[in-house]
């Protein structure tokens, strides 16, 4: 029975000692320790949050970069395409122009050739007529060198005329 009977002395000292311990520890131990732990936990949380934010920011930047790259690539492709089209059109235009120009030149050349041909033909004709006249003159001259022959010719001519 003695074992389960509280003794006044021990109750008294325990009470005083425990209250003193509680006050001392509360003021000098638990408060700084719990505050420090709490602050550290908060700073860790904050750091983690910041890291998360930075990660998101990085991801955002990366996607942005990728988008920019994609855009740039598309722009480049577009520009190249345009340039190609431009080139094609220029080449095409040049070709058609050259074509028409050529055709025109050919036409001109043809006309020139025609003109030249006509001139040449006309010249040829006049030369042929003068040559034939010369030939005829020379022939006549050679034919009519002696008198006899001249008379023959005249006779012949007269004969022809008579025939007519």
């Amino acid at each position: 029975m003695e074992l389960v009977t509280p003794s006044i002395g021990l109750v008294f000292w325990t009470g005083i000692a425990f209250i003193c311990l509680l006050i001392l520890l509360k003021k000098f131990a638990w408060k700084p320790i719990l505050t420090a732990i709490h602050e550290r936990e908060q700073s860790i949380d904050e750091a983690l949050n910041k890291a998360e934010l930075a990660k998101n920011e990085m991801a955002r930047l990366t996607t942005q970069n990728e988008e920019l790259m994609k855009e740039a690539r598309a722009e480049r492709d577009h520009i190249l395409k345009e340039a190609k089209a431009l080139k094609d059109s220029i080449v095409h235009e040049a070709k058609t122009q050259a074509h028409t120009e050529g055709a025109k030149l050919i036409e001109k050349a043809k006309i020139e050739i025609e003109n030249q041909k006509k001139a040449a033909l006309a010249e040829l004709k006049s030369q042929v007529s003068s040559l034939s006249l010369e030939i005829a003159e020379r022939v006549l001259r050679s034919q009519l060198e002696d008198k006899a022959k001249q008379q023959d010719l005249v006779a012949n001519l007269l004969k022809d005329v008579e025939l007519n």
């Binding site: 003695e2 074992l3 389960v4 009977t5 509280p6 003794s7 006044i8 002395g9 021990l10 109750v11 008294f12 000292w13 325990t14 009470g15 000692a17 425990f18 003193c20 311990l21 509680l22 001392l24 520890l25 509360k26 000098f28 131990a29 638990w30 408060k31 700084p32 320790i33 719990l34 420090a36 732990i37 602050e39 550290r40 700073s43």
Partner: protein
């Protein structure tokens, strides 16, 4: 009373803590076995001394070993702190009698063999109790009944040692928190911090709720006070060995504080639950009585639980040691030592577990008292 959240406890974390404890024991087992041999040597010396003392006292030549008497003497409080053999540390005796306050050393009793006469009374130590001796040389029972003994007994002194140790440990830890603000824990800090966080996150937060911070100092103080005293009680040599937490006075004070804190902080839901319980009206008188008893029985259970667990541990260890003297053979010693070693390791676990349970139930009772809605 919804206690399910107690069982939904973070079992994993609990397992980790116990695993760490067991790991600690296994690492420290060579050390413990050494300590244990000291325990055995110490206890052997003690028991032998007692046996001798008895033979001195009896002077009949019959050396009868009485294990119950020896064990009870070790479990109970004392006015001297037995060190070894016949050497004891005398402790101050402070008694308040109708004649006034008397303070003197218990060394004056010479182990109860002499009376001590102060200016006010003559005192005699009977079975480690201070009694007043009348003029006729007999014990004056009427005056002794009025005597209030405020002595610094073995348990009080051991408790002071534990408190000093707690203050040294936690003030230095708090100092290192200030010195190393914002940095990770180191040394003693890293041993203490997980336990503080364990008390906060697994005891206070789940049981009390968002208002837990207000009760943290009390819960932490109770936890470490019980734990340090439990562990010191297991140390067989001088500053330890007292059955401090196995003394009903101490557990009474602690559970009394718990009761005060719970009832001071009880909100209107708590009092409504007690005086206007939600039951059919004809059950009402019965339920009010039951609830009012519950207010007292909850801390009462705390008191008995801690006292019984720690006292039982001490009794078992001492009984196992006593086996050697009951069988009166050295051959029994290895068996006793093996069992004592096992019990000591188990008691280390119990030391933590009882501190944990006391704190957990305190937090649970506070939580029930401050619960906002039903």
């Amino acid at each position: 009373m919804d206690c399910s959240h107690v069982f939904k406890f973070k079992v994993n974390r609990l397992i980790v803590v116990f695993a760490l404890f067991l790991a600690f024991f296994s690492v420290a087992s060579p050390a413990f076995s050494q300590v244990d041999s000291v325990v055995v040597a110490q206890d052997t010396a003690v028991v032998a001394a007692h046996a001798e003392g008895e033979s001195h006292g009896a002077k009949h030549g019959a050396e009868k070993f009485e294990p119950t008497k020896v064990i009870m003497e070790h479990i109970a409080d004392s006015h001297m702190w037995h060190l070894w053999g016949h050497t004891s540390l005398p402790l101050p005796v402070i008694v308040y009698t109708p004649a006034g306050l008397d303070v003197f050393s218990s060394g004056n009793f010479h182990h109860g063999e002499h009376d001590y006469t102060s200016a006010k009374n003559t005192y005699r130590l009977v079975e480690d109790k201070v009694k007043i001796v009348g003029a006729d040389g007999q014990i004056d029972e009427a005056a002794s009944a009025k005597l209030l003994d405020f002595s610094i007994t073995k348990n009080v002194a051991a408790m002071f040692v534990a408190i000093a140790l707690i203050l040294i440990v936690f003030l230095s830890v708090a100092g290192s928190y200030k010195k190393r603000a914002g940095k990770g824990p180191r040394g003693l800090q890293s041993f203490i911090e997980p336990i503080i966080i364990f008390v906060r996150d697994d005891i206070a937060k789940p049981n009390i709720g968002h208002n837990y911070a207000k009760f943290m100092p009390y819960l932490l103080t109770v936890f470490f006070f019980i734990w340090f005293n439990n562990v010191l009680g297991l140390v067989p040599i001088f500053p330890g060995g007292a059955n401090v937490t196995g003394n009903i006075s101490l557990t009474f004070v602690l559970s009394f504080f718990t009761m005060i804190i719970v009832n001071i902080n009880g909100n209107k839901n708590y009092w409504k639950h007690i005086f206007l319980p939600n039951v059919p009206f004809w059950l009402w008188p019965l339920m009010v009585i039951v609830e009012v008893i519950g207010v007292v029985s909850k801390p009462f259970a705390l008191m008995i639980r801690l006292f019984a667990n720690i006292t039982a541990g001490h009794i078992i260890v001492l009984s196992l040691i006593s086996l050697i003297f009951i069988f009166e053979t050295v051959a029994m010693a290895p068996v006793s030592i093996a069992f004592v070693l096992f019990m000591d390791v188990l008691e280390l676990l119990v030391a933590f577990l009882q501190a944990f349970i006391f704190t957990l139930l305190t937090a649970l009772f506070i939580g029930m008292a401050v619960e906002e809605h039903h």
